[in-house]
């Protein structure tokens, strides 16, 4: 293998790692946001991914059959909306009134995830399905060093960057963001200032769930959607926020990039042991910085 080929391979692996990291960031940022304000470990986060994927697909498929160019966008909107409604209901109906009982909330979301996954299986069956990206973002693009690369994966990176910047602006530049940040520091005081904290909670839950839903539709376009993805993305969200730091957008981005790169590098270098690399990294972070790389102590 020439130096040029090796260069190309290395660049491809890094780009693959980054596109994977982009998807992980979109999904995990919702998890991190919910955890940051609400202190809720949403074990049903992977379920939101499934809900968005399957509901989105149910809207997408008939439109796609009619060759409508906006089929994918409609599916995306439906999926994101479904996840947001699911998340808001979860907080409003089940979790809101047991605020502060963190373990109980985690158990409730586990129960919900079991029931929801089983019902999704009952309604949609076990066949995997996959969205087809619209023509505008389909096909391949020439990337320096790498050559032809699927356009949709590049779009994935773009969406992740937009989500990151959007979240940062929302948290740091808007009134809602101010309330969220205040709520992270001191919920009681925020309530005493006249803010409707439960309503902010529902909004945050809906937003976090919507982000996971966005990840769900985008992820199900890049790779097949099937049962079991809920566990996979719950696990990835956990590892990303443990590594990056709980409740911090930048930390989630760092965590996602590290996990995505580790996964791709590991698969290229030692396929049967690639999983170990991710978890060795997690254990190392826990040993040295239990709050995560960018987490606040």
């Amino acid at each position: 293998m020439g130096a040029n080929d090796r260069m190309e391979l290395a660049a491809t692996i890094v780009l693959n790692g980054l596109t994977l990291a982009a998807l992980y960031f979109i999904v995990a940022s919702g998890f991190s946001l919910i955890f940051g304000l609400m202190r809720v470990v949403n074990m049903a986060h992977g379920t939101l991914y499934l809900v968005a994927g399957y509901v989105g697909y149910a809207v997408f498929e008939p439109l796609y059959d009619q060759d409508l160019w906006w089929a994918w966008y409609a599916g995306l909107a439906a999926g994101v909306l479904a996840a947001a409604v699911f998340g808001a209901l979860l907080q409003q109906v089940l979790l809101g009134w047991m605020q502060g009982q963190e373990l109980r909330q985690a158990l409730v979301t586990i129960g919900i995830s079991i029931i929801a996954a089983d019902q999704i299986l009952a309604i949609y069956g076990g066949n995997p399905r996959q969205f087809f990206a619209p023509d505008a973002i389909f096909g391949s693009t020439q990337v320096p060093l790498v050559g032809g690369y699927p356009t949709f994966r590049l779009v994935q990176i773009g969406v992740a960057v937009a989500v990151g910047v959007g979240l940062w602006l929302l948290l740091n530049r808007t009134r809602l963001g101010m309330m969220i940040r205040a709520g992270v520091d001191d919920r009681e005081m925020l309530g005493a200032c006249g803010v409707n904290v439960p309503l902010v909670g529902v909004a945050v839950f809906a937003l976090g769930a919507a982000l996971c839903g966005l990840g769900g539709v985008i992820g199900s376009t890049a790779q097949p959607l099937a049962m079991g993805q809920d566990g996979r993305f719950l696990l990835i969200s956990l590892v990303v926020v443990i590594v990056g730091g709980m409740g911090s957008v930048t930390g989630t981005a760092v965590g996602a990039i590290l996990v995505g790169l580790a996964e791709q590098l590991g698969q290229a270098m030692f396929p049967t042991y690639s999983v170990v690399l991710t978890f060795v990294m997690m254990v190392a972070v826990l040993a040295l910085r239990p709050q995560g790389i960018l987490g606040r102590a």
Partner: protein, 330 residues
Amino acid sequence: MRRGLAIAAALLLLALPWLLHAVLPANQAGFWTGNILGRALVFGIIAMSLTFLATYGGFVSLAQMMIAGVAGYALAIFVEGAVPRIVGGAGYALAIPLGVLAATLMGLLVGAIAVRTRDIYLLMITLAVSMGVFRFVETNITWFNGYEGIRNVVGPSLLGLDFRNPWVFYHVTLGTAVLLFAGVMYLVRSPFGLVLQGIRDNPRRVSALGYNVALHRIAAFGVAGFIAGCGGVLATIYNIGISPGTIGLGATVNVLIMAVIGGLGHPVGAFLGSLIFTVFDTFAATIYDRDRFNTLIGLVFLVIVLASPDGVLGVGARLRRLLGRRAADK
């Protein structure tokens, strides 16, 4: 009086197969003995390792099923006759202690990894660690035979009695469960157990008294690893082998469901919970729909968490208090 009750319960459990035999046809009695009571005891042991940590240490660990699986895999790797042969050569008398030892070491390792975390952080980290092990085992062919797992771990024959006989299996499992249960009840009254409960209530104060909190925590995870390992060995023999699915997310959550349904307030809850779980699992077809077992058990779990966070044990305690008040009113 409590001791009398415990002995009576143990005697009843000991005689249960004969009682079942008297009231049920022979094949059904065998099924109840092996596949419901025996299985409930096996998973009760694994769930008890979680309950032990939760009740006396305040740690809700989601790594216990994975640790049980480590024991099962170690047994399957070393024992002669397993298919495929990974290492082989060892008899059950050697392979079973090796399995339990492996689980104890894994328990210590998980305890060390999670030593600086509490509550939901601990829950997240133990889940992440066990899913990491699961995915490693699933993709590694050399040591764990990947997705297929290792088959044909039939179990030893004891004094000429075959382990595959449900009565033998039931009584060995019952003996193990009773010994481990008694061990836990003894341990929590020992100085070690008292320090552990002190850590649960206030780690700082215990640390100020001069105890090494981290070491006690890791040791507690080691004890739980030993318990889970015993359960894992029995579960592997029960299933005649082990595959990655045994330690997957579903199995991990199932053990949590058993422990929570039974109640995290006392180790006996683990056995209650696993019995309820097993009965539901077996008769889901009659109750609702075979394929929708997860919805059924999920609903039961959700109702318990919402209505009585301390499980069936808590329901019992509440009823007793209610009846006591009624009696006092009269």
